[in-house]
Subunit: 444 residues, 2 copies
């Protein structure tokens, strides 16, 4: 069993509500939209990600015979619901922002229009997929913006929250501009370039550090990146230099070294000098070790001679904002716009579109959120991607998504590119949407 594909990966209330909807024959078209209520404290913008996984989930949704038998045994559900689940397929429409698109609070990034029980059942997993990848893509983009073009690599699997988090964090960070990942299965599943060096255990398993370098170089002659901080960083750099003649005789060149602890800028300067003086000026320095966008920016701004960076835990877990305040809300049922009015959680009703406007030099200027009937000039960000349960076209390959994200990041105004929080981006709620909200309020 692959738990990540199971229709039972949902909250119990989705099933109990579906049962009630079926009993009342409330199977008319429901419109749910997914959006973020407000930005995390340390974010100027978000990057939409996870749509491909959502569409795959919807396209493959079904309940297996084993699952049906288990649901039946639980004695919680009516035969009507079980019968419905037996032939369940997703038959709805989906409109969405392309993955890699920059967006802001109150802007829907996904709309599902489907018979009410279907649209309800998929809520938990749709949120689970979009919340996580969007969160990671948005966090990773901050590192990309301050890295000055230096390659960033995802090293985060070990502290990601389980298997799927490790895999999807590799995908989401690559999408936002990372150069690759260390996670082998992410390479296989998503075609992401793989990077890797060696661990401290490799050095420790040898009685002599130099011998460990030699053995690694022989085993990976095309990828000799040596980890030099197990005992004494500069001493190890000198050992690398001392090995060069022997390796050269075997036709092996040292591609680089990795620093993983201590004052990375200071070590990088000292190691750079040792490598340069030892004839290894072509050898690159890769830095890792609890890096995040702030430490990255400091290292880049201080001209630390580091050529690439591995970023792990902080990015994979979005450590300063490990969730988004995202919501998947019913905006219309059977043609009637609806609105949640809970304190602090009021939503805008109805089907919406987001129009984006640019400055003359091509930077984001403002967005307008309006009803989908209020056609405007400008770039509509939500586009149809699924009709009656069928994909309109194959999801764009990840390379194309990554180029789209790069274009989007290039269009960010300076005030949103910094790590510090600038004035909020101008998102306007149209008069038409405000009127609709008032009309809904009057009807309640």
């Amino acid at each position: 069993m692959n738990p990540s594909a199971s229709a039972l990966l949902t909250d119990l209330y989705e099933l109990t509500m579906a049962q009630a909807y079926l009993e009342q024959e409330m199977t008319g078209p429901a419109v749910f939209e997914l959006f973020v209520r407000k930005l995390p404290a340390n974010r100027n913008f978000l990057v939409a990600a996870g749509l491909e996984q959502v569409l795959n989930y919807l396209a493959q949704l079904q309940v297996t015979q084993e699952e049906l038998a288990w649901l039946d045994q639980s004695r919680r559900f009516s035969s009507g619901l079980l019968h419905y689940l037996e032939t369940l397929r997703f038959t709805g429409d989906v409109e969405a922002m392309a993955e890699g698109t920059i967006f802001f609070p109150h802007e829907p990034i996904l709309r599902i229009i489907a018979p009410l029980p279907q649209a309800q059942l998929v809520e938990s997993r749709v949120m689970n997929l979009l919340n996580f990848q969007t969160m990671v893509a948005s966090k990773a983009a901050r590192s990309v913006l301050v890295a000055g073009g230096k390659p960033l690599i995802d090293f985060g699997l070990r502290r990601a929250h389980g298997a799927e988090a490790g895999l999807l964090a590799a995908r989401a960070s690559y999408l936002s501009g990372f150069a690759g990942t260390a996670t082998v299965l992410a390479g296989r599943m998503y075609g992401i370039p793989l990077y890797g060096t060696m661990a401290h255990s490799f050095v420790q398993a040898h009685e002599e550090e130099s011998l460990s370098f030699e053995h690694f170089a022989q085993a990976q002659p095309d990828n000799v990146i040596l980890l030099i901080d197990t005992y004494d960083t500069e001493a190890a750099a000198r050992k690398v230099v001392a090995l060069v003649p022997e390796l050269r005789a075997k036709g092996i060149s040292v591609k680089g070294v990795r620093l993983d602890s201590g004052d990375l800028a200071d070590h990088a300067r000292k190691v750079r000098r040792i490598l340069d003086e030892g004839g290894l000026s072509h050898a690159q320095i890769l830095a890792s070790g609890n890096l995040d966008e702030h430490r990255l920016r400091d290292l880049v701004q201080n001209d630390a001679p580091i050529d690439s960076f591995a970023v792990g835990t902080a990015m994979t877990t979005s450590s300063d904002a490990p969730s988004l305040d995202c919501a998947y809300k019913l905006q219309e049922y059977a043609g009637r716009p609806t609105r949640k009015r809970s304190e602090g959680k009021v939503t805008w009703p109805g089907r919406k579109q987001v129009y984006r406007y640019y400055t003359q030099d091509g930077q984001l200027n403002h967005d307008i959120v309006t009803t989908d009937r209020d056609h405007r000039p400008g770039e509509p960000l939500l586009q149809p991607v699924m009709r009656e349960g069928r994909l309109l076209e194959l999801s764009p390959d990840l390379g194309k998504v990554r180029r789209h994200a790069a274009t989007q990041l290039g269009q960010l105004p300076e005030s949103l590119r910094t790590l510090e929080i600038g004035p909020a981006y101008d998102v306007r709620i149209s008069p038409d949407l405000q009127n609709l909200a008032q009309a809904v309020d009057r009807s309640l």
Copy 2:
């Protein structure tokens, strides 16, 4: 394919190192230990969790033909490594702390003794599993400690980091004393009790709030918990009361209501009065909505009339500490103790045991971390669980693990039970271990 069971769910360097080990015939017994370097800022203790998943992973480890073909096509690896992977099985020994055991920094919770390439290859996934579940179990325990015995329910799937995070967070929080989860598949996979109510969308899909309550009660007559904050909480509570005669005529009783927004204590008091005056004094109040252990404590200490709590995002993501500073380090290779000496990341070498000592009234007093040859009176926390790749016994069922955790939490001294950070628990490094570390340093 189930990605969470794949042997390729590992970091690239585990494979490149394995190749080098094989080339050098470094296949002697390696001893790796997993421990946490230091506690997160807001934790007084940690709760070990995830061992069952680690043992299942090790017991089932193998590389499929498709994976071998893909590795071969990547042209990164030698035929020697591919040949080795073709018949790879985990043949090592594992010693570990029982799940649910409280532990502290520098105390290994897991030791793997296996041929070096095997013990290396499993590093990434073993860390991934133990880091996450231990982090969640430790976070959840804080809520359990302040909840005053009131039931806590996991509502976190939608903002968990992917599928496995949702499932394993349900498991880890139940292990630490939560009463159950909303995640249906976690109920199926781990036998965790399921809880669920209704969503705002259910109310919104009806033109009348009262009608939504009536329909839900008819569909779930044994589980009538009504969400009353969609529009106006107290008004909805009065609608619930007004429905009682009609429901009673149908033999249905209202089990409770759920509050999800606003000032929960204030709403709970008002709603309690409305329910009591309406003859619904048996009806319970469930509260949810961005709860964490601090808000829980405030509600409990202020005697808010809330009977149970649903906790979601903060627990599932361990929002104030979304990772642990855990490490999986080579402590011995081929009989030689080893030690990493990187700045700020120095480890204690060799195979270790943790002995725990109690006060006269049965509370934790101090632990001693020592070498495994330094036998002492007291309770050794690491016990054999796998020999030569075979489980010594089936993992204890989750109910037993949960009772063990409850016993452990009951043994916490008052200074560690509070949400605030008290003086650190007394963990002593034995003279024998200190001597070993010095001997290793001299040999370097």
